[in-house]
């Protein structure tokens, strides 16, 4: 037991004082608008003047809106592909940079550099590289005898561009987390496995990967959250096109709210985003609890 006399009342008051600035901002600029968003989602409004109360009409409209379902599917596809690919690449480069290598520090600095580049600039560099009339990538493909790709006017290549650009932007982060995880694994286990006759792939598969479990778990959570909120890259690189092929939920919500100014409907799309976020948060919270119990 503690010998220090506790003064819970005073401590509580002090604590509320310490958290007040943070929670005042959070309350006013996140929680209040969150309630407001739900109210707006029950209205028809262009944002000028008072809205008209329409009950659940916006939600009913969502159910039969093909653009919405397509954006939902695109968001899910994007999230799965980007999470899987950028984590695999992050792990591969982390293992690489954790081994004996000349100029390791320099390689690490280079690989995490995209994290300093803004999403808009990243997307515009993407526009430059993937330009299908005069872009460097198509020229390089042509130079080595490969067919040029219509990156901008065809749906699948356009989807590939947002995926590739996002992977370029995000892999460094995954590598950093994995690198930190790898540095926590002592050499003894690898040594023991080697003595048991395990080759390097078996050691990677049966020693490294399981021990990186916590890092992987953390990265799945962060990558899903991030990919699901992707906005800058899609908005600037493809604008959701061609023919809506790269339209994701967040760009659809933005366009609906601030371009076509159907703000009630935009708020309803936002509520779906919120629901998805909450479901994901609960699932991952439960998963982490089960993991803790198992460990």
């Amino acid at each position: 037991m503690r010998e220090v006399p506790r003064r819970p009342r005073g401590e509580s008051l002090a604590a509320y004082g310490f958290i007040a600035p943070n929670y005042a901002l959070l309350g006013v600029f996140v929680l209040v608008p969150l309630v407001g968003a739900f109210v707006v989602s029950l209205q028809r409004t262009d944002g000028f003047g008072d809205g008209e109360f329409v009950g659940a009409a916006n939600y009913a409209r969502l159910v039969t809106d093909p653009v919405f379902w397509r954006a939902l599917a695109t968001t899910a596809g994007f999230t799965v592909v980007v999470t899987a690919a950028s984590m695999a690449l992050g792990l591969a480069t982390a293992v690489l940079l954790n081994s004996v290598l000349p100029a390791r520090g320099l390689f690490r600095s280079v690989l995490i550099l995209p994290m300093a580049v803004s999403g808009v600039a990243t997307a515009l560099i993407g526009v430059l590289v993937f330009d299908q009339n005069n872009g460097i990538l198509d020229k390089l493909l042509g130079a080595v005898g490969l067919p040029e790709v219509n990156w901008q006017s065809e749906p699948v290549p356009a989807f590939a561009t947002i995926v590739l650009v996002t992977i370029w932007w995000r892999t460094g982060f995954n590598m950093l987390i994995y690198l930190a995880g790898l540095q926590g694994i002592g050499p003894d286990l690898h040594e023991a496995a080697r003595l048991d006759g395990a080759n390097s792939w078996q050691r990677f598969r049966n020693v490294t990967v399981p021990l990186l479990g916590p890092s992987s778990y953390f990265l799945v959570v962060l990558n899903v959250i991030y990919s699901f909120q992707v906005f800058d890259i899609v908005f600037v690189l493809t604008g959701g096109g061609p023919q809506g092929a790269t339209n994701v939920l967040v760009t659809y919500a933005y366009d609906t709210g601030f371009v076509t100014r159907d703000q009630g409907y935009a708020a309803a799309i936002g509520m779906v985003l919120l629901l998805l976020a909450v479901v994901f948060a609960v699932v991952q919270w439960r998963a982490s609890r089960t993991r803790d119990l198992v460990e």
């Binding site: 604590a15 690489l96 803004s118």
Partner: protein, 268 residues
């Protein structure tokens, strides 16, 4: 894998990362004629500043740079202050509802700004903030990630240290100032640089909150310029450099703080 092979693989990865950035620089300093000519080259045949000059004479680049700097500095300062104070409370003080409150803050991490953008815009307008820097600063100043990070770091300060100071009769604020703050310098650097970077590059909310050309930050200005100049890649890339270069330099110089912040966040 042999060492040669591994070095080769690392070089390839580095090349994939550097090539697009390098190409941005090449295009920014190539003449328009050369860009339209369109054959492959690794450096401008004729190094030119014409794109940079065109961008600076057509757009208020200096003012936008100033806007970005002012907004991101204020956001960083506010975010460091609020995260540090709240992080201390969650790490070392006991109070009712602390778990629920912490959970709420973390919950905002999974909340895309698009969920609340419509009503946040109305709120900001209603408060008379629209048309000022504060429309961007206040909604982005409280960082859930910063709070989480601060708590993680501050848990590392031994409880005994704080209790000893309390026994000497120091109040909570005094303990914070004279015990916690001096031990938090690395944390402050981490929080400062991370929120500076995030705010400097922020896009989705400023796009909505800044309708006035004169208040644009660099990312919004960059999008605006692209809208005006279309496929004038020389100009777009020259301006992109203005946006990218300062943070790349800051990032490289203060890299250890960014790395510490990110890797620390991964430790459960």
């Amino acid at each position: 894998m042999s060492r040669v092979l591994r070095t080769g693989a690392a070089l390839l990865a580095a090349l994939v990362i550097i090539a697009p950035l390098y190409w941005m620089v090449v295009v920014a300093f190539s003449s328009r004629r050369e860009l339209l000519g369109g054959d492959l080259r690794v450096w401008p045949r004729q190094f030119t500043l014409e794109n940079v000059e065109r961008v600076f004479s057509s757009f208020p680049v200096v003012a936008w740079f100033g806007n970005s700097l002012a907004i991101s500095l204020v956001v960083a300062l506010l975010s460091v202050t609020t995260s540090l104070l709240a992080g201390y409370a969650f790490a070392h003080l006991r109070f009712r509802g602390s778990d629920a409150l912490f959970f709420i803050a973390l919950g905002t991490l999974v909340l895309p700004i698009q969920v609340i953008m419509v009503s946040l815009f109305r709120l900001v307008t209603g408060l008379g903030l629209y048309g000022t820097y504060w429309a961007v600063i206040l909604p982005t100043a409280a960082s859930a990630f910063g709070l989480f990070l601060a708590r993680q770091f501050l848990l590392g300060i031994p409880r005994e240290l704080i209790e000893a100071a309390r026994l000497d009769g120091a109040g909570h604020l005094r303990v914070f100032r004279s015990v916690v703050l001096p031990l938090s310098k690395p944390l402050i650097a981490v929080l400062f640089f991370m929120s500076l970077l995030q705010s400097w590059n922020d896009f989705a909310w400023p796009l909505i909150a800044l309708r006035d050309n004169a208040l644009y930050t660099l990312p919004i200005g960059l999008l605006y310029l692209q809208g005006q100049f279309g496929s004038d890649y020389g100009a777009t890339m020259a301006f992109a450099l203005v946006n990218v270069l300062p943070m790349v330099v800051v990032f490289l110089v203060f890299q250890r703080y960014f790395v510490a912040g990110l890797t620390r966040s991964g430790i459960r």
